[in-house]
Amino acid sequence: MKATRSYKAQKVLDRMGNKLNRQMVASLAACVHCGMCTDACHYVLANPGDPTYAPAYKADKIRKLFKRHFDWTGRVIPWWVNAKSVYTDEELEELKDTVFGKCTNCRRCSINCPMGVDYATFNRMARGLLVSVGIMPEGVAVVSKDQWEIGNQMGVLKEDYLDTLEWLSEELVDELGDPRAAIPIDKKDADIVYSINPREVKYDPRTISDAARIFYAAGANWTMPSEGWDMTNFGLFSGDDDLGGAVARRLYEKVEELRGRKLVISECGHGYRSTRCEGQNWAGYDLGFEMESSVITMLRYIHEGAIKVDKSRNTEPVTFHDSCNNARSCGLFEEPRELLNLVIEDFREMYPNRAENFCCTGGGGAMSMAEYTPLRLKSAKIKADQLASTGASYVATSCHNCVDGLSDLIKHYKLGMKVTQLVNLVAEALVIPEKEVLVPVEKVPAVSAGPLDGYKILVVDDEPDFVSFASAILEDHGASVVTAFDGNEALEVARRESPDLITLDITMPGKDGKEVFEAMRRDPALESIPVCIITGQPELRKLIYDRSVPPPNGYVDKPISEETLMRNVRKILEIKQKVKK
């Protein structure tokens, strides 16, 4: 009897034929099952005795489909070469757990295969096939949707982006006492168009102001685009070449519209790889301008004498983590080391390193796939051991994804290290000559009152620890805080207290955050109160944004730092940070 195949399974097989190219076919056909790649994978090393993590084992889940439908022997005598088809959606779900959950596409096995089998490449293809039939981790769906619809992968709205740049710009002008320190937006004919990761706007604006400080000190003719500024590209992770092409094209077209001479890509491994090394191929786009990593730009500024640095300002021991996408897929590994040695005093090499480095375990989009977090953290043991053996107190990396992955594992394994980026270290070491300061700064007296003085904030969360943490921070900054631990209580307290802002968790017992949020938005007494969602489950984001009520005023993922909480609260309340001099 002929087995019936589900619609999705059939589509996956049909589309596989279109996706295969010669390189992939050779890789799929050439594996001799020698096992040399096994120990190259951090999943294998962290899960001893479990062969299901071996790269060749995982690759065979895709290979068996290829053999059954495209390879001669597999079509004639499938059992002889373990060729097998796929029939049900459940089997596709299982494949999803392998290609998304057990591999970060780090390519470490590829460079350790004597045959040159590039598993990561066809693993990405398999991801793309599953995504094309809607089978993917929830987080991947959410982030891809944001990048398609809003234009960046964290759903940062244009006004929030521009607000942040304006706020940073004002701070820089105040600090440096020079109006030329402002961040230029949409300036035509600039030498440099600077593109960033939306994480910088949302969680790490210091990296933007540090870069701006460096451009200012170098006297660069630079700009940031008001749109099309996101150099990250979830298409790399989801395997969706259409998304990859659309995102890359958006950025390239913006640079051409501004007549920029060079696109500088801030420190992000997958962003650099997507924009610099793959985007043109996905988009079918030939460029009229150059592209480079900001690491190379900063290094050139020092070599050319455009900026001066004093390494004695960075005395703590620092090690360097090579992002897989930068090092193994773009060859960017010597420049960051050269730059580091110019701006820090104590560099500690990590072993293995460069193209042989281990993945931070947050790569391949893993940070957005909450369902695989326990496995990710278990597999991070390899990286944790690597970090610990350096004896460094800081780990620098040129990738925002790695910043998150490393921060998470450092916390999990209690390593007590801090994560930083090269731009922060260069900015720290930057010497800005006195004569550069044109306009004397009127010193603003230290403000003793907190920036949240006079504001009442309602913190809603079922975790008492989080409520205490957030309340303490907000109170320290002058706010008066009221709290609620479930949905019903939240509505009751909100009606009674009329706070200026509500921070709201999504997952709570009883009435959950989604219902509470909608109820607030529909209640005339509460509808105008700003709401900032703070959740540990980013995959639930679309449940909030898909509601037929105005969206929340802020959205922050846990874990959350004091700085992130305060920045989001201040931004929502439109309070300018007071400069203490």
């Binding site: 056909a29 050439a30 022997t73 295969c113 590039d118 043109q280 072993y351 042989e356 970090l387």
Partner: protein, 228 residues
């Protein structure tokens, strides 16, 4: 020499070679009908890397045990790989020497050399069978073809070892088995994993080109062997 032995040494081998050549050509046409990806971006990396250099490096990577962590860390596996493949070359070479240049085997040195190489390859074959059966990681990735190909080659080495002296005075059985096996081997190879050497130039070409364009190959700096 019997008619049968003459037949298997000549006609059978030639037919088997012809079949292999036809199937291989078909395989190559099949592979080439898939499009090769186009790279539009400028090269990354410093001047030491380029697609061309990457390809050369990638092709010869197999002869540089220091170039990959997997061979550096498993140097024993690397050397047994070398011996096994030298054994294949020797045993294949033997199937040409016996029918077309038997006088070469008058040299005792050559006979000894071939027997040492093929004998060691046979021992490696035995080791590989044990490893494939006893190691759970290897079992998990092995198909019937993997087991059969390995056993086939190991048994073939055994008969090749005894066939090297080409001595028909003590009977033709060994030579007959060796040549029948060689013919089977030649016909079976294109349908099995043993055909990997057909793909090797392609996989390594594309990996080398990709990583050369992206500034990774050739690797200049190998990390010290320390794993934290």
């Amino acid at each position: 020499m019997s008619h049968l032995l003459h037949f298997v040494e000549h006609t059978l081998q030639e037919v088997a070679l012809l079949i292999m050549a036809i199937v291989y050509t078909g395989r190559l046409i099949w592979l080439m009908h898939y499009k090769a990806g186009k790279e539009r971006q400028a090269d990354t990396g410093n001047g030491n890397t380029s697609p061309g250099k990457g390809i050369i490096y990638s092709w010869f990577n197999v002869a540089m045990p220091w170039a990959m962590e997997s061979s550096r860390r498993k140097i024993f596996l690397y050397f047994q790989f070398v011996i096994f493949h030298l054994g294949v070359v020797a045993a294949i070479g033997l199937s040409f020497v016996i029918p077309y240049g038997p006088h070469l085997l008058n040299s005792e040195t050559l006979v000894l050399l071939l027997q040492v190489v093929i004998g060691l390859a046979f021992l490696v074959g035995l080791y590989r069978i044990i490893r494939r059966v006893s190691n759970s990681y290897m079992r998990a990735i092995s198909s019937p073809d993997d087991y059969f190909s390995l056993v086939l080659l190991t048994v073939w080495f055994f008969f090749a070892f005894w066939a090297v002296p080409n001595n028909t005075a003590k009977g033709e059985t060994i030579l007959l088995i060796y040549f029948f096996m060689t013919a089977f081997f030649l016909i079976y190879v294109p349908f099995s994993k043993i055909s990997h050497y057909l793909y090797y130039p392609f996989t390594r070409y594309y990996l080398g080109k990709t990583l050369g364009k992206r500034g990774v190959y050739p690797v200049k700096h190998y990390p010290r062997e320390v794993r934290g």
